[in-house]
Symmetry: C2
Subunit: 163 residues, 2 copies
Amino acid sequence: MQPPSDPALHPDVAALSFLLGTWRGTGEGQYPTVDPFRYGEEMTFTHVGDPFLAYEQRSWSLEDGAPLHFERGFLRGGEGIELVLAHPLGIVEVSTGTLSGGGGSRVLDLASATMAHTPTGDRVTALRRHLEVEGDAMVYTLDMEMERVPLSPHLRAELRREF
Amino acid sequence: MQPPSDPALHPDVAALSFLLGTWRGTGEGQYPTVDPFRYGEEMTFTHVGDPFLAYEQRSWSLEDGAPLHFERGFLRGGEGIELVLAHPLGIVEVSTGTLSGGGGSRVLDLASATMAHTPTGDRVTALRRHLEVEGDAMVYTLDMEMERVPLSPHLRAELRREF
């Protein structure tokens, strides 16, 4: 038997419903250790009627379409906003967040509480995410700290909700 | 520009190619703290030409189709087998593994190296996964340790590769 296809949104994630859908757009990356780059990105937030949103992201080079990055995980609502995420760089992330904004704009700020990596995974020690949504327009920034690099701007992208 | 749709498999994950595809079947769950239950499950392993497989899993109640569990993450090949995973229960998992088997059967054993959780996440402290594939048939078991429960059998399922 298949799960119900269109369940009601769980009240614990009602405050996150502004994220639901598929977002596409382009972004710019920088970091002290790499050359600046541009990327295409798609991000999807879905729900199944439980107190979390499933999150899936992929980005690719605007030059040759080669895959750049992927993120998969879950955004939990309820007592607070919590993000659990796996990265193919061999990293897992636990972040906690807050919602703010007003006048039609919603702002989600997330800061990592725990980062862990596999034996060969990247040594990312902290991530900060700032995400603003106004209607079907999203702008986000991501700052990253690594073992030998202090917290520094890494990504900024503008996406549109496509469906 | 879209990522290439059918890239060559990265040599670091050639040894994991026996997992590629979508698997469906049913399983049985037990644990000292819950009544035994049966579930339906779908598991998908894909690749994009990079040294990892993307992994996505969902399970649902065989009684009413309600969603039970989801896992999303990445299985990395290369020097060793590494799994990074996010669970909607507010858990992230870093596991390391080994491949064995012979005569047409492949066995993947994974044991958690790091478990972390969100402030309201489940206190799962260790996971052990044992997965056997012979052709298009998969059998896996999962043992789970929690803060107040020693490592105990939790899940066992039989899946078939559908495509």
